[in-house]
């Protein structure tokens, strides 16, 4: 009746805990006493105060802790009273922590802020966790459970057990169970700890592994705890290895999608039209800056749209870069058809001008582009395989843009005209196609697509005048590797290069891996001088 006895013990502990909590007066005093620790200006004292304040279980504690976490807890210089503040309409409003008295607007000069560092923050999170376990918001409950997992403490076992009884949300439940298992590890009872290990074993997370290793490290060699923890780590490792390979593959696809996005516009301007477009990178950069401008406007006029700012930026970036592209084509490039090498010289000049123009307009420093919440953080698709959401979105976006380009070139009237003009300009012209217009539209399409890519790249890279320069060499390489003028080759080529690069990186390092890929491309071209997919037939031989 081992288990039964343990349950009885747990129940007993809960009862005692609750009983202690009911002693109202003692609690109030303890709370005020505990607050004094915040005035001492040392991290250790602050942490002690955090622990004391949360141990009182006083309802006022949560507000104090939250204020502390946000750096809004102040000490009044005159009498060392603790006050928490909030910003409202440009004013700083204060509330006395002990009495709950509203102070109205306060002068910050009269107060010292209670300083917070990572150590304090982590203690506050753990303390807040105990309060937020029963928070009505699921997200808060999960965060609370995560905080307790990261700061495991056997004292939290009863709390967790109690809140688990009422938990309905599966994700929150899983998080709480994990926190419970971690807390059990810290118990001084061997059976509790073994039960904790048994549960943790099922989670293939690197943080769990870390925790188990710590436990194993503290336990005596050969003791049951040590054996169980080491075995658990070993069994997790096999799973983690599989997960790692899956992640590397995903990272490769992600890199591939970045290459695809960077190159797809070039596949049109260079691949289809034959313009050696050195200003391609700047079209990407313009797209990134469009995102920045869109977010600035949204921030000023309607902050509630921030979550969808990126979606708004995509069509606008297409229009901005597309318009610059059309202007470029009509203004200068059209004079150079049939002289492809000279387009290199000219677009190089254009690229210098665009870079400096952006530098003059927006300044030389990086600009901040905010990620919407649906593009931040990770999603766990299987135990131990966590994918970063922005990368997932970018892969999907890359595929979407690719599909759009395929659709436009293959299924629309404009696409038909475009192909006709590329294949036989004279014939197309005599069929009544306005070739000049088609040229401009095609170049505009390629530039616009580059602009859309810029919106995505702004999420992972610097938004600076140099943004485009970083992608230009890679873009040309991808287009040539895939086969100039072949969109399918582009898709396949970029994915292959991305995945190879990522599988090489752990062994060779980032630089050697990249050098190897470059050399591989050079050698590959020897065997397939026209890329992965060469166009067949007369056109290729002409």
């Amino acid at each position: 009746m081992h288990v039964g006895r343990r349950r009885a013990l747990a129940l007993f502990l809960i009862l005692i805990f609750a009983a202690v909590g009911r002693v109202q007066d003692a609690r109030a005093d303890a709370f005020t006493d505990a607050l004094a620790g915040f005035a001492k200006d040392s991290y250790s004292d602050t942490i002690a105060a955090v622990e004391k304040v949360s141990a009182t279980g006083d309802p006022r504690a949560a507000a104090v802790l939250r204020a502390l976490a946000e750096g809004n807890l102040q000490v009044r210089k005159s009498d060392q009273a603790i006050v928490y503040t909030r910003e409202e309409g440009g004013k700083t409003l204060g509330t006395e922590a002990a009495s709950g008295k509203e102070l109205g607007e306060i002068k910050t000069d009269d107060y010292d802020q209670v300083r917070v560092n990572n150590r304090v923050r982590s203690a506050v999170q753990a303390a807040l966790g105990t309060f937020n376990l029963v928070h009505p918001d699921t997200r808060q409950r999960i965060d609370a459970a995560r905080a307790l997992f990261k700061n495991p403490n056997a004292a939290n076992i009863p709390l967790l057990l109690k809140s688990l009884e009422k938990e309905t949300d599966p994700a929150a439940k899983a998080a709480k169970e994990l926190a419970l298992a971690a807390s059990r590890l810290m118990s001084d009872k061997q059976e509790e700890r073994l039960a904790g290990i048994a549960h943790l074993k099922t989670a293939g997370d690197s943080e769990v592994r870390d925790l188990l290793l710590r436990v194993a490290g503290q336990a005596e060699k050969g003791s049951p705890i040590h054996t169980a923890a080491t075995e658990a780590v070993a069994s997790m490792d096999a799973q983690l290895r599989l997960a790692r390979n899956a992640e590397i593959f995903f990272q490769g696809l992600s890199l591939g999608s970045v290459l695809l996005l960077a190159a797809i516009g070039l596949a049109i301007t260079f691949g289809v039209m034959g313009v050696i477009n050195m200003a391609h990178g700047e079209m990407v950069m313009l797209g990134a800056y469009t995102t920045f401008v869109v977010q600035q406007i949204i921030r000023t006029w309607s902050p509630e749209l921030m979550e969808v700012s990126v979606l708004i930026a995509v069509p606008l970036a297409f229009l901005v870069s597309g318009a610059v592209g059309v202007g470029l084509e009509r203004g200068v490039i059209r004079h150079l058809y049939g002289r492809p090498i000279e387009t290199l010289l000219m677009t190089w000049g254009v690229s210098m001008i665009l870079q400096q123009a952006v530098r003059t307009a927006f300044g030389p420093t990086n600009r901040e582009v905010v990620s919407p919440s649906w593009m931040s953080g990770t999603m766990e698709i299987a135990s131990g395989i966590a994918l970063t959401q922005n990368r997932v979105v970018i892969i999907l976006f890359g595929l979407l843009v690719f599909a759009i380009v395929i659709f436009i070139t293959q299924k629309t009237w404009f696409g038909l005209q475009m192909r006709a003009v590329t294949q036989n300009r004279a014939m197309a012209a005599s069929m009544g196609i306005r070739t000049g217009r088609v040229d401009a539209m095609t170049f505009g399409l390629g530039s616009g697509i580059a602009g859309m890519a810029g919106v995505a790249l702004a999420q992972i890279d610097n938004v600076s005048p140099n943004l485009g320069q970083g992608y230009i060499v890679d873009s040309f390489m991808v287009v040539v590797f895939g086969g100039v003028g072949n969109l399918l080759g582009l898709l396949l080529g970029s994915s292959i290069l991305g995945v190879i690069n990522k599988f090489l990186e752990p062994f060779a390092g980032a630089v050697l891996g990249k050098i190897f890929v470059l050399v591989a491309i050079i050698v590959f071209i020897q065997f397939r001088p026209r890329g992965l997919f060469a166009l067949k037939g007369r056109a290729a031989e002409a």
Binding site: F270, G271, V272, G274, M278, V332, R334, H335, L336, Y337, G338, R339, P340, E342, T343, L344, L345, M346, W348, G349, V350, S351, M352, I353, Q355, Q356, A357, T360, T422, Q423, N424, R425, A426, T435, Q469, V473, F476, M477, V480, G483, V484, G485, V511, L512, K514, I515, L518, V519, I521, I522, V523, I525, Q526, P529, R530, G531, L535, A539, E541, A542
Partner: protein
């Protein structure tokens, strides 16, 4: 009417240009004397800043000649010639490093400072021999030549042409740049090779040595010019030009196109290497950024601005673009990219034959005509847009 008049006048000019070219050479040759023999108080005194600057441009002009040889006369657009230039520079830099001896920060008689610093205990094998100047000179020619030979042999044999070739030359120089950036490679990483003290025992920081390097660069430029002119004027040169204009036809006539192209490519790489070797002691540093694709593209642009397919044009272009860059970065530091970028656009639009086109000189560059269109479609794998109606 007036255009024709202009052209004929221009041609007359060019035929009579030889005395002017000679005059320019003499002036260039005498310039260092204004630095050495004239006291600094005199209004005719030329600060050694100017000597260094022109010395640098002379090296760039040699590089431009190398590029013009393969691009203007054989139709190989290399976007990686900076790699050969930099390799030549590194070979010279390695000699200069070894020449420092035990005068470095860490006073190690054998190892350069950066190796001591990375805890290396012995000299890597590829650094041996560079204490000998003649060996270093040999390497200046041999290393770029060998790389060009291997690379060119692979590429030309597989008949990689046009833009494909341009892009993989870019990949080559990019890969080399990444490699040289690595500190583990043993070439000093990002800091490159620097802090040189002397060359052949002459202190690099004296006016005399500077003038000597300047004259060496000028002599080398003249020699390279004469060599290139001899090559393009010979029967060999005519075959090369034919390869540029109609490669398949030349092949069908029984010429080994691969060998001809390879010869020109290797020769050009060696010339670029020499330019780099002269450049390094004058600027005092060689760093992997010389391998950057942008540096190579810039060098191609000098040739385009000066006039592709004209040896004089290549030299003029190198001087004009670098002169403009040096001047503008000092006197219009915030605007120079606009101005220089604008010049590039304007040159392509209004001076398709570059600066030499201004003087009406007939460049030997390719005509905008059918053969080049055929080349275009070949490299794109598609049929390109036909040229617009001929502009007058």
């Amino acid at each position: 009417m007036s255009a024709r008049l202009n052209q004929s006048l221009g041609r007359a000019l060019v035929s009579g240009a030889r005395p002017y070219i000679l005059a320019v050479i003499v002036i260039l040759a005498l310039l260092p004397l204004l630095n050495l023999a004239v006291p600094p108080s005199s209004p005719f005194y030329l600060p050694d800043f100017a000597i260094k600057l022109i010395g640098k441009w002379l090296c760039f002009a040699i590089l431009a000649l190398a590029i013009d040889l393969v691009w203007g006369y054989v139709g190989i657009l290399s976007l990686g010639h900076g790699a050969f230039f930099a390799l030549g520079g590194y070979a010279m830099g390695m000699y200069l490093m070894r020449a420092i001896g035990d005068r470095g920060h860490y006073k190690n008689p054998l190892l350069p400072d950066f190796m001591v610093f990375l805890n290396w205990k012995e000299l890597p094998w590829y650094w041996h021999g560079f204490d000998n100047f003649l060996f270093a000179l040999l390497m200046v020619l041999l290393i770029p030549g060998l790389l060009a030979f291997v690379f060119g042999w692979l590429a030309f044999r597989s008949r990689i042409t046009g833009v494909y070739l341009s892009i993989i030359t870019q990949a080559m120089t990019f890969a080399l740049m990444l490699a040289f950036f690595r500190n583990d490679m043993g070439f000093g990483g990002n800091n490159g090779l620097t802090d040189f003290k002397d060359i052949l025992g002459f202190n690099l920081h004296t006016d005399g040595t500077r003038a000597g390097l300047y004259w060496a660069s000028l002599a080398m430029l003249i020699a390279t010019f004469l060599l290139c002119r001899w090559v393009v004027g010979s029967k060999l040169g005519r075959v090369l030009t034919a390869v540029r204009d109609a490669e398949s036809r030349v092949r069908f006539l029984g010429y080994s196109v691969t060998n001809y192209k390879l010869f020109a490519f290797v020769l050009s790489a060696m010339i670029a290497g020499v330019a780099g070797a002269l450049y390094v002691p004058q600027v005092g540093i060689i760093n992997p950024s010389e391998f950057s694709p942008a540096a190579s593209i810039e060098a191609v642009i000098w040739v385009a601005v000066g006039g592709r397919g004209s040896l004089v044009g290549a030299i003029l272009g190198a001087f004009a673009v670098n002169g403009a860059k040096s001047w503008l970065t000092s006197y219009a530091p915030e605007l120079w990219l606009f101005i220089l970028g604008g010049i590039f656009v304007a040159v392509t639009l209004f001076l398709p034959r570059g600066i030499v086109g201004l003087f009406g000189q007939k460049s030997d560059g390719p005509r905008i005509s059918k053969p080049s269109l055929a080349n275009l479609s070949k490299m794109l794998g598609t049929v390109p847009p036909a040229p617009k109606e001929q502009r007058p």
